[in-house]
């Protein structure tokens, strides 16, 4: 049951990576997508990141009941959980909702209104023209959004910790700077690139094979978000298992 859609997905990807007809047209599309995915998502990513950091700090402080554990641990936990899990994974799930549903409904609407057929009649490789710029846009911008998210997550944690009195500035910074393993950042970037690829390709696949009318476009869009989220969580586990 899963093999048929998986095969179609792989064949679609093969068409996506066919040589573009004209690079300068694709370049314009890539800039457009980069702007939409990147700049268009900074607001929501910033808000969720600050709150994620704040909640992590408050909940970690709540669990630190023993006097034997230094308060600086809060800084270390906020840093590592932001880099390794919260920023890449939660950002990706939020982006699956925002970007993924938009990609699926955009391509799905083009499918049901025969715009994709029109591209194909003209001799244009429609998967390449419609999906490749979105993949490149997402793979470039989502890691940058994750870097912003990590910074804001830590900042949010710092604010919540110091304002509530759960941790002092000195302790938080001490925790933040001690025992840092740079490889965790590499893992975070690997995750963000793979998640970006999953969000755009899964959503584009759902949109590209939409059949019917506006109701089916909505169904494709919902399915794109659900499958993207599950795929992200599955990939998250696999990456963690392989790299850590």
């Amino acid at each position: 049951m899963i093999f048929h859609p998986l095969g179609k997905y792989i064949l679609l990807l093969k068409s996506v990576f066919r040589k573009p007809e004209k690079w300068n047209i694709y370049r314009k599309e890539i800039f457009k997508e980069t702007s939409y995915i990147g700049i268009g998502s900074i607001g929501i990513i910033s808000i969720i990141s600050i709150f994620l950091g704040a909640v992590t700090t408050v909940q970690t402080a709540f669990q630190l009941v023993s006097d034997l554990i230094p308060k600086s641990v809060i800084g270390s936990i906020v840093r590592d959980s932001s880099i390794l899990e919260l920023s890449p994974t939660i950002s990706a799930i939020v982006l699956a909702g925002k970007v993924g549903s938009s990609v699926a409904s955009q391509i799905g609407t083009m499918r049901v209104t025969e715009q994709i057929d029109a591209l194909e009649i003209m001799g244009i490789n429609s998967p390449g023209f419609l999906i490749l710029p979105k993949i490149i846009g997402a793979v470039v911008t989502i890691p940058l959004l994750v870097i912003i998210s990590i910074s804001l997550c830590i900042f949010g944690g710092y604010l919540a910790g110091t304002l509530s009195g759960a941790v002092t500035t000195q302790d938080f910074i001490l925790g933040l700077t001690s025992d840092f393993i740079p490889f965790t950042f590499t893992v975070s970037m690997v995750k963000s690139v793979i998640f970006a690829f999953i969000i755009t390709t899964v959503s584009a696949y759902q949109g590209f094979y939409t059949e019917g009318g506006s109701l089916e476009v909505g169904i494709s869009s919902t399915r794109a978000v659900v499958i993207s989220c599950i795929s992200i969580l599955f990939a998250d586990y696999v990456i963690a298992q392989l790299l850590l």
């Binding site: 066919r18 007809e21 004209k22 047209i25 609407t109 209104t113 025969e114 715009q115 057929d117 029109a118 194909e120 009649i121 003209m122 001799g123 244009i124 490789n125």
Partner: protein
């Protein structure tokens, strides 16, 4: 000339086309007519490669389109223009950008030349000055005309038109029919029109193919259609009392 040879097509075990063979004449308006579900649009989509037939072939001036790979098909597709039932204009582009899109993709013309070509096509469909409007700002008839302008922007040898009059008032439908006929004569294109509009059949049908239940049941011109003794064709063409009355005069 375009030739369809023994085209078979099924969808989920439903036979839609059962071995259709037909020749579509060069420089003429070839009409595919038939009732709903007779396989007209499926035949058209098989001919342009939007559907792959299970059996049979489509030959464009001696070139077997169905046996070609993706790259070889592109060369033929550059010679094809198509007007879709829904017009299929790109929503995010203006009228001018829609018409210039194939030129941007496949030619190395300068922007000025492309704009001149877009203006020529717009003038040809009587839509001069509408360059900067978006499809959402156009009426149904205007969308069809922009669709035609986009279809002819690359000077196609073959023009495919799917239900050009659907959703249009009779007056606008006649304007679109006349435009298709004029463009066919002017550019000597091989035009294939799918329709069930009887005005189109009588007005522009140089060569008519009648499909019934996925098979070709009749072929001839609009002059011959009134005198055909094909029962299914007569039931289809003269279904309305108005057409039946008109038949007496033909």
């Amino acid at each position: 000339m375009i030739e369809a040879k023994d085209i078979h097509k099924t969808f989920s075990e439903n036979y839609v086309l059962r071995g259709i063979s037909a020749k579509f004449m060069e420089g003429k308006c070839n009409l595919i007519i038939g009732g709903s579900g007779s396989g007209k649009t499926t035949l058209l989509k098989c001919m342009v490669g939007l559907h792959e037939p299970e059996q049979g072939s489509v030959i464009y001036d001696g070139r077997d389109f169905t046996r070609m790979n993706f790259d070889a098909r592109i060369e033929i597709r550059k010679e094809i223009g198509m007007l879709f039932q829904s017009s299929a204009l790109f929503d995010s582009m203006t009228v001018e950008e829609n018409i210039m899109f194939p030129l941007n993709m496949f030619t190395n013309q300068k922007t000025k030349e492309k704009r001149e070509r877009a203006n020529f096509c717009l003038n040809r469909v009587n839509l001069e000055g509408k360059n900067n409007l978006y499809p959402a700002e156009l009426s149904g008839g205007m969308k069809k005309r922009v669709g035609i302008a986009r279809a002819i922007s690359m000077q196609p040898k073959y023009l495919f038109v799917d239900e050009p009059n659907s959703g249009l008032d009779p007056k606008t439908a006649i304007v679109i029919d006349e435009l298709i006929q004029e463009l066919t004569d002017e550019f000597n294109t091989t035009t294939v029109v799918v329709t069930h509009d009887m005005n189109s059949v009588m007005g522009i049908g140089d060569n008519i193919i009648f499909l019934h239940q996925g098979e070709k049941w009749w072929e001839g011109s609009n002059k011959e259609i009134a005198h055909s003794d094909n029962k299914e064709l007569n039931e289809f063409v003269f279904a309305s009392k108005f057409m039946e009355a008109a038949k007496e005069k033909l």
